[in-house]
């Protein structure tokens, strides 16, 4: 991790998914390296940041909004999707209903966040299936197929063991960087200036 104020790009991310899939645990594992000491249900939204360096040589600050999962909270949480360029869409691999909800979460994200938001589908609680294979209720392949069809990144992870948590964020941030860099390149291309006039960058650059 690098200095919190020493970054080139600021990316707003949102953590979404049904209640109790482990969004807050994932965030705590990523930010603090531990699980929450006194975990309570997220009411409304909570917020954390982490600055990391990417392979491309630049530093990005992830501003992460953790949201309440209960459906009726969308009235509050969806307002916070605005200007989000990335999302972790989390389901619980032991609860198929949480996977089934991903379609609706995705639509919600695509209609409220930035139009080309990068979404990482995360199957959490893989530790439970490792302990007891019978607990797995969502096949890896089914989720991978869904992600592929919908153009999502995909990983399985465990906030409890920490498996793949950093990888999920790293892949997401790298993909956001590539997407925004590609757009910046196009915007910088004088042959595209005419069409792209007036478009603003989705990320806030601090360089």
């Amino acid at each position: 991790m690098i200095g919190e104020e020493d970054y080139d790009h600021l990316y707003k991310l949102v953590l979404v998914g049904d209640a109790t899939v482990g969004k807050t645990h994932i965030l705590s594992r990523y930010i603090k390296g531990t699980l929450p000491k006194a975990p309570t249900a997220t009411i409304g939204v909570e917020f954390a940041t982490r600055t990391v360096s990417l392979d491309a040589g630049c530093a990005v600050k992830a501003q992460i909004w953790d949201t309440a999962g209960q459906e009726r909270y969308r009235a509050i949480t969806s307002a916070h999707y605005r200007r989000a360029v990335g999302a972790l869409l989390v389901y619980d691999i032991t609860k198929p209903a949480t996977f089934k909800s991903c379609q609706r979460w995705m639509e919600e994200l695509r209609s409220n966040a930035e139009p080309d938001i990068v979404i990482m589908l995360v199957g959490n609680k893989v530790d439970l299936a490792e302990k007891n294979p019978g607990d797995r209720q969502v096949d890896f392949d089914a989720a991978a197929d869904f992600a592929s069809q919908q153009g999502l990144l995909f990983e399985e992870a465990s906030a409890v063991t920490g498996a793949n948590i950093k990888l999920c964020f790293d892949k997401l941030l790298k993909e956001i960087y590539n997407t925004t860099q590609h757009r910046r390149d196009r915007e910088d291309d004088p042959t595209n200036n005419f069409q792209l006039q007036g478009r603003s960058s989705q990320t806030e650059c601090a360089c």
């Binding site: 249900a41 939204v45 917020f47 209960q70």
Partner: protein, 290 residues
């Protein structure tokens, strides 16, 4: 199919009222009870397959839907009760009662059922004196005044945020400017968490035991005043924060800060004062607290 059906012409009011209170099935998602829910939906569809279902079919459909909603609430209640005030031993001793209180209320008020955050209010009631029946009654009385906090769309929160903004802009323009202009924070980022936990995210349980009856008595005005005074109590630290990164974690961890002196007494006096005078710019919060 359900959304487009035309079940009600010429049927009794009671059946129709129950039917019209149905949840949006297509948006309904519930872990755990999912398979049971799908079966219920099939049964409801069968009940309503006729263009003009009979009263008993409508009754059955209504009953099935109410059960489905209760099942959804019961699943979320079970998960939340184990997480409310997780390290508090007094709460730990009454977790079963908290669950009973919330389940009973979800049956009593199916339109609300259970919204996450209500477990904080139930915990405050459950650690009080009396038997389970008495606590259930007290919780129902509390909800008579506060249910709009947690109803779909969160009407009390939606109504309250502009009032707090208006009050802060009038009474402490420096803090308001700092939050909204310098830091680009808005109170919608922090008030839902505070209010929907009846300030359980900001204050310790022993303070809430005195504060919740005040909130029950004063309703929206009470929430506005407590929020305003909490912001004022911490204003020096709020004013030195330079970014969202600093200020949001600080506000969300108010519970780790010292409780403002005489918070309840000051809240009571402030509500009384607000009721006794109107503000020079005629702001809407005066009419709300009045």
């Amino acid at each position: 199919e359900l959304e487009n059906s035309e079940p009600s012409r010429g049927r009794s009011c009671s059946s129709l009222d129950k039917f019209s209170a149905r949840p949006n099935l297509q948006r309904h998602s519930c872990t755990g009870a999912f398979r049971a829910e799908e079966m219920s939906i099939c049964r409801v569809k069968r009940c309503l397959s006729s263009p003009l279902p009979a009263d008993d079919q409508l009754e059955e459909a209504s009953h099935l839907l109410a059960n489905s909603r209760f099942n959804e609430a019961a699943v979320v209640i079970a998960r939340d009760v184990s997480r409310v005030f997780p390290s508090n031993s007094r709460v730990h001793d009454v977790r079963i009662e908290i669950a009973e209180i919330l389940r009973a209320y979800a049956r009593e008020d199916p339109d609300l059922g259970y919204t996450q955050g209500m477990c904080f209010a139930a915990a405050v009631v459950a650690v009080g004196d009396g038997n389970l029946e008495g606590k259930q009654q007290r919780f129902s009385q509390l909800m008579e005044k506060l249910r709009d906090l947690w109803m779909p769309g969160f009407p009390l929160v939606e109504q309250g945020i502009p009032i707090v903004e208006s009050m802060l802009a009038s009474k402490d323009p420096e803090l308001m400017h700092h939050l909204y202009q310098t830091i680009k924070m808005d109170l919608g980022m922090v008030i839902p968490s505070a209010w929907l936990s009846v300030f359980g995210k900001w204050l310790p349980l022993d303070v809430l035991q005195d504060l919740v009856p005040f909130l029950q008595k004063e309703g929206l005005a009470g929430f506005v005043i407590v929020t305003f005074l909490m912001l004022l109590a911490h204003r020096s630290k709020l004013l030195v924060a330079r970014s969202l990164d600093e200020i949001l974690p600080f506000i969300n961890s108010f519970s780790k800060e010292a409780v403002p002196d005489q918070l309840l007494s000051v809240c009571q006096v402030s509500v009384t004062q607000l009721r006794s005078r109107s503000d020079s710019d005629g702001m809407s919060w005066v009419s709300v607290v009045g």
